[in-house]
Amino acid sequence: MENIIEQTGVSNRYLKFELGGEYYSLPLLDVREVTPPPKTTPLPNSPDYFVGVMNLRGQIVSIVDLRKKLRINAKEDQSQQAIVITEIEGVNIGLIVDAISSVMNVGSQDLMPLPEFKSKVNSKFIRGVFKEGEELVVLLDMPLVLDIQEIKNSRNKAS
């Protein structure tokens, strides 16, 4: 399995998307699928970034508004909004983004540490920055953004 991933170079691919006019990315291997924004059911007493739950072909998936989670103002034009269904360490979460841009093919040597520049996002959520032409694309630390460890801990406590 490791070998296949190496050979095909999938691990060097990243999904690039737009949040409030800036470009962000996450590893393509963490993405299960991309869907148009679904109808969701809100959950009571949940944080403001938690949009609700959706029915993904029979599976209940939680939807998180990535812009609210990262305190980014959403674009006014919502026509290109999409949901990225992620699967990180066995946890499925859907993320609302302003728009999907492309799939980037970059080597790990292209990942630069966070330079001195002002991002709208708390720097602890940033793993690095890709330079793509003139654009800077922020690589998000998704397990940290989504509190995956916290989720897994609470699950272990429950069982």
Partner: protein, 272 residues
Amino acid sequence: MRNAIDHGIETKEQRSDTVKPPKGTIKISAYHEGNNLIIQVKDDGKGIDPRIIESKAIEKGVIKSNHSLTEKQLKELIFHPGFSTKEKLSDVSGRGVGMDVVKTNIVSLNGSVNLDSELGSGSVFTIRLPLTLAIIDGLVTKIEEQKYIVPLSQVSEIVPFHTNSLKTFTNGAHLYKVRDEVLPLYYLNRKLGLKSIETTQSAVLIVKDTQRFAVAVDEILNQRQIVVKNLGQDVRNAKGIMGSAIMPDGLPSIIFDLVKLYSDEMKVKASA
């Protein structure tokens, strides 16, 4: 079940040799435990003798005579395909295709079977199934255009909402009079963090618990059989939420465990 009667319970003569009453007892219980459904079959028969299993298994070539299995492992051999220790095949429990088929079926549903057996005092089979497969009778209620489900088992009755039966205190607590009984009343929409327009309340559910209480909702829609689905792992432990169900319109709906949802309120009242 049939296995318990046939293999577990001894004959009358065998029983009278021990201190047990001449009639055997088989107890079947089923209950929820967390996200699991537990079914337990318990008999007070002779239990499973690991020695008998051992000699049978060797005879049938399932294990070798120089095996190193523990007593517990030996007992679990009854789940092995094609294994039946009863000397005579009978028309009660059938042929020896029983336990391994049971186990395979349960495992394929992501469940488990556990065997506890004490020689001389009986056996307990515990079957554990994930609640995702559980179907409950649910009451579909509506609050501000959103549907919420309450398990019917928690509701003892539904009464219409009349403002003249309601008494509101200055601290915001409510009491509701049902016939000669006065019960604490909670508005479900407050719990949901919605702006409550209290005049829209039209029905009251009476929840059965050690303490009875009333819960007001906007509208009761219908009653239906509901397949309980787990929520995403990130919200599974939200208090008072039992799971969700996919409604005919394709949207998920939240299933509330009202007793858990209001357990804090009821505790405060009990200690006051």
